[in-house]
Symmetry: C2
Subunit: 416 residues, 2 copies
C-alpha cells in the first residue's frame, strides 16, 4: 500500500534544521510492505496542514502525520484533521486518563491545554503513548487509514512500531531490493557504465545516491519473478562496476576493509593529516574493529609527522608535507611505530587557504604499505574543506581495499 508522509513543524523548514523522521519511517514502512510515495513538510498552520492532508488523502493509501498533536498553542494537527474529515472533536476517555496519568507522574497540573491532547475526531481511535503525553490518532476508512503521531522521535518511533502490526493487513508484498556500493568514480561515470540497465531489466527500478567519493546503487522490484530479476540485475551491475565495486550486498566500505584485514590476519594503522581522524573514525564505526585496527595518528603539522611517524625532516623540507615521498614516509613510519602489517596515510590541502600554484587546494596524496608492497596515489579533489576531507577519508579506505584485493587502483595511481 502507498503511504503519504506529512511532517508538521515550522522549525523543519528553517535553515539548519532538517526533517529526518521520514528516512527512518521509509525504512520501517518498506520492510513492512508499504511504499512511501510522497513527503510533505508543512508549518504549524492549520490551513497548510489541512491542505496537505487533503492532497495526501487523495492518493488513497495510508496517510501518516507526525507532529503538531502536543499541548502547546503551536500544535494544530488535531484541528486540521477534524476539519479535513468534517467531523467534530470528541473527548476520548481512555486518552484522557492517559494524559492525566502522565501529568500526575510528571507532577504537572493537568491543565485544559494538556487535556486537549485527549480530543480525537468523532469515530477515530486514540493510540497509547508510553514515552510522552500526547496520544496518537488513528482514523480508518475503507481500504486506507490516517494516523497522527507526535513529532518527538522517541515517542513517534515507539508508537509507530506498536502500530505496524495493526496496519499489516493494508500492506502488500515487500519489494525485492539489492544495494551495491562503489567508490573511486563519480555518479555520472557510474550512470554511463550501467546505461543499459533500464532496457535490460525494465521491471527493476534503479536509483543512485552519491556521497563524496562513493556512489550507492539501489535495485528494487515487486511481484512474481522479482527475486530472479533483481538477482540477475545485481550481477550485471556488479560486472559493470568492476574494481570500483565495494560490495554487492550493501556492505559499507569500512566493513569490507575490516573483513579483508580479518581474512589476512593483518592489522591496520592510519596516519592522517588533512583528514585529521576521519579515516580512523570511519573504521571505528564497525563494532569489534579493535581486532584489526590498533591505532591512528593525526599529524597536523611537520613536527608531529617527525615525532609520531619518524618522517625524515629532509623529506618534508625537500618535497613538502603534501607530496608522494612524504605520504609514503608517513605510511612506513606508522607501520613501524605501531608494529602493524598495513598502514594507510593521507596528506593534502583541504583549504580554503594553503594552496599554491603547484599544489592547489584539493590536492591529496595517499599511500598504503603492507607486507607485499606499497602503493601511492594522488588526486585533486573538488569541493569545499569539509567535502574534500570526507572524500579524502573515503578514498583512503578505498585504497586499502584495492590494495588488499591486489587490484588495479586506477586513476593516477603508481606503484612506488
Amino acid at each position: 500500500m502507498k503511504v503519504c508522509l506529512v511532517a508538521v513543524g515550522s522549525e523543519l523548514l528553517r535553515p539548519g534544521f532538517r526533517e529526518s523522521h521520514s528516512n527512518w519511517l521509509a525504512e520501517k514502512l518498506e520492510s513492512a510492505g508499504f511504499e512511501v510515495v510522497s513527503l510533505q513538510v508543512v508549518p504549524d498552520d492549520p490551513e497548510a496542514i489541512a491542505s496537505s492532508l487533503i492532497q495526501a488523502r487523495s492518493s488513497g493509501g495510508l496517510v501518516l502525520v507526525t507532529g503538531g498533536i502536543g499541548p502547546t498553542r503551536d500544535d494544530r494537527t488535531r484541528q486540521a484533521l477534524a476539519a479535513v474529515l468534517g467531523r467534530p472533536l470528541r473527548r476520548d476517555p481512555r486518552a484522557e486518563s492517559q494524559v492525566r496519568e502522565w501529568c500526575r507522574r510528571h507532577r504537572l497540573p493537568c491543565t485544559l491545554a494538556q487535556r486537549q491532547q485527549a480530543l480525537v475526531p468523532e469515530g477515530a481511535f486514540s493510540l497509547r503513548n508510553r514515552a510522552g503525553s500526547a496520544p496518537g490518532i488513528l482514523v480508518t476508512r475503507g481500504n486506507g487509514a490516517l494516523v497522527a503521531l507526535p513529532g518527538v522521535f522517541s515517542e513517534m518511533s515507539s508508537m509507530f512500531q506498536a502500530l505496524i502490526p495493526k496496519l499489516r493487513h493494508l500492506a502488500r508484498s515487500q519489494p525485492v531490493t539489492a544495494t551495491l556500493r562503489s567508490a573511486g568514480v563519480g555518479e555520472s561515470r557510474i550512470d554511463r557504465r550501467i546505461r543499459g540497465v533500464h532496457a535490460r531489466f525494465p521491471r527493476v527500478e534503479v536509483t543512485t545516491l552519491a556521497l563524496p567519493g562513493e556512489v550507492t546503487i539501489q535495485l528494487r522490484s515487486r511481484g512474481p519473478g522479482a527475486p530472479g530479476e533483481v538477482e540477475r540485475c545485481r550481477r550485471w551491475v556488479a560486472r559493470k562496476l568492476r574494481n570500483d565495486l565495494i560490495s554487492d550486498t550493501g556492505e559499507v566500505l569500512e566493513k569490507v576493509v575490516f573483513n579483508l584485514l580479518k581474512r589476512r590476519g593483518w592489522r591496520l594503522v592510519a596516519a592522517e593529516s588533512c583528514t585529521a581522524g576521519l579515516v580512523s573514525a570511519r573504521l571505528a564505526r564497525v563494532p569489534g574493529v579493535s581486532s584489526v585496527f590498533a591505532a591512528g595518528a593525526v599529524c597536523y603539522n611537520d613536527r608531529a609527522k617527525e615525532r609520531m611517524l619518524s618522517v625524515p625532516r629532509d623529506v618534508l623540507v625537500k618535497h613538502g608535507a603534501v607530496s608522494r615521498p612524504a605520504v609514503l614516509a608517513m605510511a612506513r613510519g606508522a607501520a613501524e611505530t605501531f608494529g602493524a602489517e598495513v598502514a594507510v596515510a593521507v596528506t593534502g590541502i583541504a583549504g580554503p587557504g594553503g594552496g599554491t600554484a603547484g599544489t592547489p587546494v584539493g590536492t591529496v596524496h595517499w599511500a598504503v604499505v603492507h607486507p607485499e608492497g606499497q602503493t601511492a596515489r594522488m588526486r585533486c579533489l573538488a569541493g569545499d574543506r569539509e567535502r574534500i576531507r570526507v572524500h579524502a577519508a573515503c578514498a583512503a579506505l578505498d585504497l586499502v581495499r584495492r590494495t588488499l584485493l591486489g587490484a588495479r587502483a586506477g586513476g593516477a595511481r603508481h606503484r612506488a
Copy 2:
C-alpha cells in the same frame, strides 16, 4: 515572499536516501529575504508532480522545483509543468543551442531525448546551465514565479545563485535571526529553562534542534522592532543557559574552543579511544586550526595507549582502560609526548559489546590537562554505537571549553 519547494525524484523517497537540497535552499532563500513555507518530495510521476505544483501554486508565492528536467524517461517535470500551466511546450532556440553545445563538448550525439531538454512551456524563459545539460525554466506570473532547476546539486546550486538577483524584487525584508548553541544538557532541560520565552517575547519564534550532546536554539522575528526584540531575547536566553551556553552568535563548539586556545596561546592535542578520531576531525573543521591543534592519537587498544601515550601498564591493569586514572594518564601522556599545553582524552565503551555490570555500554571518561590543573569527568551516555561516539566527541570538546573558561563543568565532574 513565501516559497514552496518541490523536490522531484523517486529515489528521494527510498530508505537510505534523503532529500537534502531544501536545507541548502532554505538558508540561501532566507538570507535573500524569502521564507520557505512548505516542502514536497514527490516521485518521478507526472500526476504526482502536477498535483504538488497545483498545491504549491495555490499558496501564491515562489514555487521552486528541483529535479526531473534531464534527458531520461524518468524526467517528467517539464510535462507536468506544461499541464499545470495549461500551455503547450515550445522549443526554446537559446536553450537548444546550449544543449547542442553541451553534447558537442561531451562528444555525445545530440539525440531527440537530449533536445527535449530545450522545451519550455509557452511564455516561459529558459535558464542557462553552465554545469550540465539541462536548462532551467522560469515562469513569471503577477506577483510570483515558478522556477524549475535540475536535481544535480552542482547544477542546481550554481543556477540558483545566478537566479537570485533576478528574483530579488519578489523578496521582502529579511527576518532578524539569532542562533545560540549549548552543550552538556538535553533538549527537554533547555526547553524547561527557557520556558518563559514565549510569554516574554511573543513576537519571536523560538526553535530548538538537538544533536547528540548539543542543542541549537534559533530566534527569529520580522518587522519594525524586530532587531531590538531579538537582541533582548538573545540576552535573556543566554542568561538562562548559563555555563551551558557555547555561543550566542551561532559560533560552533570547535570554533569557540579554537578561539579560547588562540587567546591563551595554548596548543591542544587529543588522545582518543572510543571516539577514534572524531574529536580531532571535528576540531579540524576550523580552517587554520593548525595554529592551535598539533596532533591527535587514536589508541584503540591497551598497547597503543602504552606506546603512544606512555600510559603505565599497571594503571590499565589495575583500573581498566575505561577509568578515571586511565583517562587522566592518557591526557598527561599526550601533553608530554607532543609537548602541548592542553590535552584532552576520551575513553569509553561505545558498544554494542564490551560492557560489564560495573562499566556498562555508554560509560565514557574524559580528562583535560592544562598548565593550571586538570579535570576529569564521567558519564553514561545513551543511544547506539554511533550516537555514543558522536556525543562523547562533542562532550570532549565541551570539557575543553569549560576548562579553559575556568567554569564549573557540572555533572559528575571532579577536580583530580
